[in-house]
C-alpha cells in the first residue's frame, strides 16, 4: 500500500501537469503556517524586551531622585 508513487523527482514535481497547483498550495501553506508560529514568538520576545526597558528606566529614575535628595 505504501510505495513512492512517482518514477522520478521530476515526475514528482510535475505531477502529471498538476504540479504547479499542488506545489503552490504547499508553498502557501508553509508560508502561512510558519508565520503563525514565528509571529507570536517574536511579538512575545519584543514585549518582554519592552518590559525590561520600562523596568530599567524606572530604576534609573528612582536612582536619580535619590541622588537629588541626598544632594539637598
Amino acid at each position: 500500500m505504501i510505495a513512492f508513487r512517482f518514477s522520478s523527482l521530476t515526475d514528482f514535481m510535475h505531477m502529471g501537469g498538476h504540479g504547479i497547483y499542488v506545489w503552490s498550495c504547499a508553498f502557501i501553506a508553509l508560508a502561512i503556517l510558519t508565520a503563525l508560529l514565528v509571529y507570536p514568538v517574536l511579538m512575545a520576545r519584543s514585549q518582554l524586551a519592552h518590559i525590561q526597558r520600562l523596568q530599567a528606566m524606572q530604576k534609573m529614575q528612582q536612582a536619580r531622585q535619590q541622588q537629588a535628595h541626598s544632594n539637598d
Binding site: G16, I32, L37, A44
Partner: protein, 259 residues
C-alpha cells in the same frame, strides 16, 4: 464539588507556566506530524482516478478548513466562558484565536482556489460553501479589528465575544452546505456516522494531516495566548520577574530558554 481547578484554569500565570512545558513537545510534534502527513499524502498515497494528482491538495485544504471551523467554536466558547464567569484568560484565548482562524480561512480559500482551477475549471465560484467560507473570513477579520478599536479592553472583549457568538450560526451552515445546496464541492469524504467514502490508502494520510493540524492549532493558540498574557499582565510582578530573569539569563549567555 471543588471549583478550584476551574478558577486555576482562569489564571494567566498558571497557563503561562503550564504551557511552558507543553510547548516543548507539542511544537516539535506538530511539525513532525505535519511533515509526515503531507509527505505521505503527496508522495505515497495513490493517484485519484478522476482528479489526477490535483486531489493531493486535499491534504492541505481539508484539515485547514476543518480547523478554521473548529477554531471558530473554540473562539466563541472562550468568549462565552469569559462573558459568563468574567474570567481574564478565556478572553485572551478568544482574542488569540481570531488571527489564527483568519489565517487558516485564507489558507483554505487559497488552496481551494488552486484546487478549483484544474478540477472545476475556475479559481472562484459563487458556490454556497465558498460564500459562507468568505463570510467566516469576514467574521474572523471583524473580531481582529473589533479587538483593536475599542479604547476600553473590557468593552472590546465583550463586543468580540458577542460577535463571535452570533457568528457561530455560520459554522453549521458551512458544514452542511454541500448537502443543502447543489454544489461544486464534493460531499464529505469522512463522516462522524457511517463509513468513509474514501479508500484507506488516502484516508490514513488525511487523518494524520488532520491530527497534525490539531496539534499545530493548539501550538499556535498557546503561542498567541502567551503573547496576549504578556501584553495584558505587563504590570504584574510575575511578568516583570519573568522579563528580568530572561534578561539575566541572556546576559549569562545561556541560550535555549523557552518563551
Amino acid at each position: 464539588m471543588s471549583w478550584q481547578w476551574f478558577h486555576r484554569l482562569g489564571s494567566p500565570r498558571w497557563f503561562y507556566e503550564k504551557t511552558d512545558r507543553w510547548l516543548k513537545w507539542l511544537a516539535p510534534l506538530s511539525i513532525v506530524l505535519m511533515l509526515v502527513g503531507i509527505s505521505w499524502g503527496f508522495g505515497f498515497a495513490p493517484i485519484d482516478s478522476k482528479q489526477g494528482d490535483s486531489y493531493r491538495i486535499i491534504f492541505i485544504h481539508m484539515p485547514a478548513a476543518a480547523l478554521a471551523l473548529v477554531g471558530y467554536y473554540i473562539m466563541a466558547i472562550a468568549g462565552a466562558v469569559g462573558l459568563i464567569w468574567r474570567m481574564k484568560l478565556p478572553f485572551m484565548v478568544m482574542k488569540s484565536a481570531a488571527p489564527i482562524g483568519a489565517a487558516l480561512t485564507v489558507l483554505t480559500l487559497a488552496t481551494g482556489s488552486l484546487w478549483g482551477h484544474p478540477t472545476w475549471g475556475t479559481f472562484w465560484e459563487w458556490d454556497a460553501r465558498n460564500i459562507f467560507m468568505l463570510v467566516l473570513l469576514f467574521l474572523y477579520a471583524g473580531i481582529v479589528v473589533l479587538a483593536q478599536v475599542y479604547p476600553s479592553r473590557d468593552a472590546a472583549d465583550k463586543a468580540c465575544a458577542i460577535l463571535a457568538l452570533v457568528g457561530t450560526i455560520n459554522v453549521p451552515i458551512i458544514y452542511k452546505s454541500v448537502d443543502w445546496w447543489y454544489s461544486l464541492h464534493q460531499p464529505a469524504s469522512i463522516k462522524l456516522t457511517g463509513s468513509a467514502s474514501i479508500h484507506p490508502s488516502m484516508l490514513y494520510p488525511l487523518l494524520l494531516c488532520i491530527l497534525a493540524y490539531y496539534c499545530f492549532y493548539s501550538t499556535a493558540l498557546i503561542l498567541y495566548t502567551r503573547r496576549e498574557i504578556l501584553l495584558r499582565e505587563a504590570r504584574t510582578s510575575w511578568v516583570i520577574q519573568l522579563a528580568q530573569t530572561r534578561l539575566a539569563r541572556r546576559k549569562a549567555n545561556v541560550t535555549g530558554e523557552g518563551l
